[in-house]
Amino acid sequence: MNRPDLSVEIAGIKLRNPVMTASGTFGYGEEFAEYVDLEQIGAIITKGLSLKPKAGNPTPRIQETTGGMLNAIGLQNVGIDAFLEKKVPFLRTVSTPAIVNFFGNTVEEYAELAERLDKIPEVAGMEINISCPNVKHGGIVFGTEPKAAYSVVKAVREATIKPVIVKLSPNVTDIVEMAWACADAEADALSLINTLTGMAIDLKTRRPILANVTGGLSGPAVKPVALRMVWQVAKAVKIPVIGIGGIMTGTDALEFMLAGATAVQVGTANFLDPAASERIAREMEQYLVESGISDVKELIGALQV
């Protein structure tokens, strides 16, 4: 048999295979170059970016939990100027598409970031993180209110002709309603899930373990929730969906594709196994070979319910 076709396309971005690296877990790609052949993965999604450099939260920022981890990095990043100057040059050396994840505190900030990134040829697409407090609306998170999400996505949409992926927060009653709002605002694709809000406590000190008190839960512990949400959203919208949450193996990734994902992102797994993204792509290929499937796209949404 010929090698199976693992390529997929997300909003015009051609991926050699469906495995992307999740924002915040893979730095700017460069950090992992020693462990992963970056030419063997689908796309690199960079650490969440803001207009100005952001300090993030005090430490401790991470804590392991059963089957997962909490993080409260607080979106520390170098800001767009340093990103363009210091991080983009490396991304230029890799043929794998780079997708830039970003966030703002106001609709205007989102739009401004999109406008600036629109001009950068190395940026294949944008992933907008809407799990951030909306400063103008008393800190209500953009990602939990369909109207707020709509307005942010709309503003970004109007600021760029590059592909726009919206990353959804799972901390909502109705993920489908959020997905609809983003699709209505002409997002090209949706990615989900971001982290579930959680907390850890140290009995000895009687304090929260994270300096920020709460943090985002990721890793295999959240996979069932992620899989459910991807399935619900993929059924409901016409745009492609990218599955994220606890993916550790090729099997996990393929389960997300059955649930309706066109591609996947690997996050926490990069920490335990820095070569995880490449390995997962390889495991997917092996599965296709062993199952005699010539094209991974056959599996997208192929779940029999």
Binding site: G27, E31, K54, T59, E64
Partner: protein, 271 residues
Amino acid sequence: MQFRATIISNQEVSPGYFRMRITAPPELAGAQPGQFVMVRVRDAIDPLLRRPFGIFDVGTVLSEYPGCSSATYLELLYKVVGKGTEALSTYHHGDHVDIIAPLGTGFDLGAPEEEKILVGGGIGIAPLYYLAKSLVERSRVRFFLGGRTRDDILCVTEFERLGVETYVATDDGTLGDRGLVTEVMERHIREDGRKKTIYACGPMPMLKAVAEIARQTGTHCQVSLEAYMACGMGACLGCVVKGKDHADETPDYRCVCKDGPVFAFDQLMWV
């Protein structure tokens, strides 16, 4: 570098402290003192994250370890504090662990003519032995070692065998002087006016005291820090400490895993 290591030995050297020798690829012999390794304790998901450990020693043995292409070994010295280290302590000769090494930025060996002062608190001696080994070839080395009780004072003979002058202090006086090791060290620095470099690793209060002494006496000082780590390679930003110029608007965070774990004390914000 990521590699699967075979455990050569794993011995309890003092109650709750283990010394583990594992196989390593030959390239690891070039590791810098102060660099560290990330150990995947189990292939399973519990514990999920890797655990960081200093490089206690790296070397090459004359006889080949059977079934292993290289005779280079890596040694860790660790204290059992939680589930990762507990699991590690159950490993036997012949078992395997997955290692990423060497990571981070190690100690700057400095000018040979300066005396080197090593200060270790408890398990904080872990990266200092390999450092001492590198330093003794070029410089005079004194080692100040503190711990709560005599059980927390490890590997003194190993250091002495290197030709390092060793001073011990314990909180309860069960070994060496009674009191803080930093006080003993401070006395030495103040009494002997020659230029020195301090290398310190241990609990935060000890490092703060050492940094303060270094500041007051104008001594060079490098400290090795600990932090919660997820990735160990500068990607997750979980392990940061504030650099000297840090302000919320113009953040100056340093990654303990990449910019450190060793920092010149005057590069950090000590508040």
